[in-house]
């Protein structure tokens, strides 16, 4: 275990207020607050209901560190809690998680199954983590037979918006960040149709209205755009910067409060400069520049996917030591150089099962919860604030 330095930057999830304080003093305060009900209950304490545990506190020097978890596929509540406990222990205050519409409204528009979402939201809150929710996944009742679950036609946009509104209502005060769809600039994520920013913007507009009607304090993000250079003629996808421009062209400026970015480094280090025809981590700067061009420079950016892969069987992977160095440097770059970037949640903390493909090279923890070396190194960086 690392020794905790006396002064750490602590992030308290509920208020998202960063405070500089003494760990010892804060620990004493927490102990006092948690023990207070028992003291009040007298020697036995039996007459009192159990105390509600206070949210844990994420100790980190870099409050932008985050990961994308994969709890959608995790059914065991104990494993959900353990996953989020390990995220906190790594020093990451942020998590992005997927809440498929099809899982929450599987049968019709009138019924909701919040059981799994409740588990995730409550466990994240208990660990003091800030949750970024992302939504897509169309139920069968809301799409044509034979379409994929990433297909959503305009005649069901209102149903999706109502779902987002219901989510915002249920988790008001606990989940503020709501991401509308995922990578809508890819055909595969847009129901195997040609991506269309104008049509997507209408979906975003309806979801934004529903979310803000339910929770005026919520922060709506367009779906994180896939890093791609596909030209407008392509049926497979559309260049991320072009798609974002398309949202503005379709009048979507007032329909999002922050921008989600997918910032994969592939084989380049985070220090590699951004360029229009290059896919790398710094490409986030180009997307932020689009915001600035449209007068939206004050809107925060959240990296909701990204990172490096070290699987030896993938051409776009790096060596394991490079993955560690690049990941730490990227977190550090966001903290030092990108004041407009609020969080960096890298793909992916842990899979419930091995993928047995190169996807396994993205994880921080094995399916049986063994920390990979990258976990240890991020934790060391979070505790010390010093790059190796």
């Amino acid at each position: 275990m690392q020794r905790t330095p006396i002064h750490l930057r602590l992030l308290i999830q509920k208020s998202e207020v960063r405070i500089q304080t003494s760990v010892a003093a804060l620990a004493m305060l927490l102990i006092a607050l948690q023990l207070a009900p028992r003291w009040a209950g007298g020697p036995t304490g039996a007459a009192l209901p159990p105390a509600t545990p206070l949210p844990a506190v994420v100790a980190t020097h870099n409050p932008k560190i985050g990961v994308h978890t994969r709890l959608t596929d995790e059914a065991d509540p104990a494993k959900i809690r353990q996953t989020l406990r390990m995220v906190r222990a790594m020093g990451a205050p942020w998590v992005t998680e997927y809440f498929p519409w099809i899982y929450i409204q599987p049968t019709d528009a009138a019924h909701f199954d919040w059981s799994h979402a409740d588990l995730v939201v409550e466990a994240a809150a208990a660990e003091g983590l800030t949750l970024i929710a992302r939504f897509d996944g169309t139920p069968t009742w809301a799409r044509p037979t034979g379409s994929t679950w990433k297909y959503l036609a305009p005649d069901h946009y209102a149903d999706f918006a109502a779902f987002v509104g219901a989510f915002a209502t249920r988790y008001r005060g606990r989940v503020r960040y709501l991401t509308i769809w995922n990578e809508p600039n890819l055909s595969a994520e847009w129901g195997t149709r040609k991506p269309d920013p104008a049509t997507y913007t209408e979906l975003l507009r309806q979801a934004y209205r529903a979310a803000h009607a339910a929770d005026p304090a919520c922060i709506v993000l367009p779906g994180g755009l896939a890093p791609t250079l596909e030209p407008p003629s392509s049926a497979l996808g559309l260049r991320d910067t072009d798609f974002l421009e398309g949202i503005y062209a379709a009048g979507g400026q007032a329909s999002f409060d922050a921008l989600a970015i997918h910032a994969y480094g592939f084989t380049a280090p985070p220090a590699a400069p951004a360029a229009p025809d290059t896919l790398n981590f710094a490409r986030a700067e180009l997307l932020h520049a689009v915001l600035v061009r449209h007068g939206d420079g004050a809107k925060p950016v959240l990296i909701t996917e990204g990172g490096w892969n070290d699987n030896p069987r993938w051409a776009l992977a790096v060596k394991p030591y490079q993955r560690i160095a690049y990941t730490l440097a990227a977190y550090d770059k966001a903290q030092r150089d990108w004041p407009w970037c609020r969080a960096v949640t890298f793909w992916a903390f842990r899979y419930p099962q091995p993928a047995y493909t190169y996807f396994d090279g993205y994880t921080f923890v094995t399916p049986d919860f063994q920390p990979k070396p990258i976990y240890d190194e991020v934790q060391r960086y979070a505790v010390t604030g010093v790059l190796p």
Partner: protein, 259 residues
């Protein structure tokens, strides 16, 4: 433990197949087998981007799996048609009947057994605990207490060493400063570490190989296996027969890069 279970399952499978074949002297139906025999071609799917197991050099498939595939085809009396497949599409291609056999440094996946017959393991890719040839103090992981262990930073070997440190050898002195397993092994050979954890391919290629010794069993269990459809029991048995014969004759070790 998983390897023991795998071996038991494979033995039971072979015995079971033998029982089926012997029961009525009529082999079980196997469309893939029939197709291979009728066409005289065994279609083998592989991801030819993973040397030394499979790659394409001068337009020719080459590597450990390629040699094994040629041996299987030779035993069947047919020729091989290599089918290049991305790693994450291999099982779909097998299920769709695009290939008869997968040979692609595939790890054993327990859950896949509902849809495929796996061969017996033909290569063990798990991380090895390596010491100098004359090392007499270290016979296994528990002897690493207080010892300096070299690993490639961030690698599977590093993960395995840290697992030991977290569990049974808390005072293992981890030296995770190396950028490759080859560097870690070189440090061991040079006396800068007491042991190293590395993959078997890097160990086999180490310039100081003769001065190093791998302890058994491996620290992690990663057997490579071949796969055919679950509806191909005869082809599965034929693949196993070739591997068994090659293992017994010593040719399997040579196919897998051994001396």
């Amino acid at each position: 433990m998983r390897r023991v279970l795998l071996d038991i399952m494979l033995i039971l499978a072979v015995l079971g197949l033998g029982g089926v074949v012997g029961a009525g002297n009529r082999p079980p139906p196997d469309a893939a087998w029939d197709r291979v025999q009728a066409r005289g071609v065994l279609r083998i799917g592989t991801d030819p981007t993973y040397p030394p197991f499979e790659s394409v050099v001068d337009s020719r498939y080459t590597g450990y799996d390629i040699a094994l595939g040629q041996a299987i085809a030779a035993d069947l009396g047919v020729r091989v048609a290599w089918v290049p497949l991305a790693l994450d599409g291999q099982y779909d291609a097998l299920a769709a009947g695009q290939v008869d056999l997968l040979l692609s440094a595939l790890p054993f996946i327990y859950e896949r057994q509902q849809e495929v017959h796996y061969s017996q393991p033909y290569f063990q890719a798990g991380s090895l605990l390596v010491v100098r040839a004359g090392e007499g103090r270290i016979a296994g992981p528990v002897d690493l207490a207080g010892r300096r262990v070299a690993v490639e930073l961030g690698s599977d070997a590093d993960t395995a060493a840290r697992r030991l440190q977290r569990t049974i050898v808390p005072d293992l002195q981890l030296a995770a400063t190396y950028h490759s397993s080859a560097e870690a092994l070189a440090a061991l050979a040079a006396g800068q570490a007491d042991a190293a954890v590395a993959d078997p391919l890097t160990l086999a290629a180490a310039p100081d190989r003769a001065a190093l010794r791998a302890l058994t069993p491996p620290l992690t269990d990663t057997p490579y296996v071949a796969a055919v459809k679950i509806t191909s029991p005869r082809l599965a048995a034929a693949v196993d027969a070739t591997i068994s014969a090659a293992r017994a004759s010593g040719t399997l070790a040579r196919m897998m890069g051994g001396p």
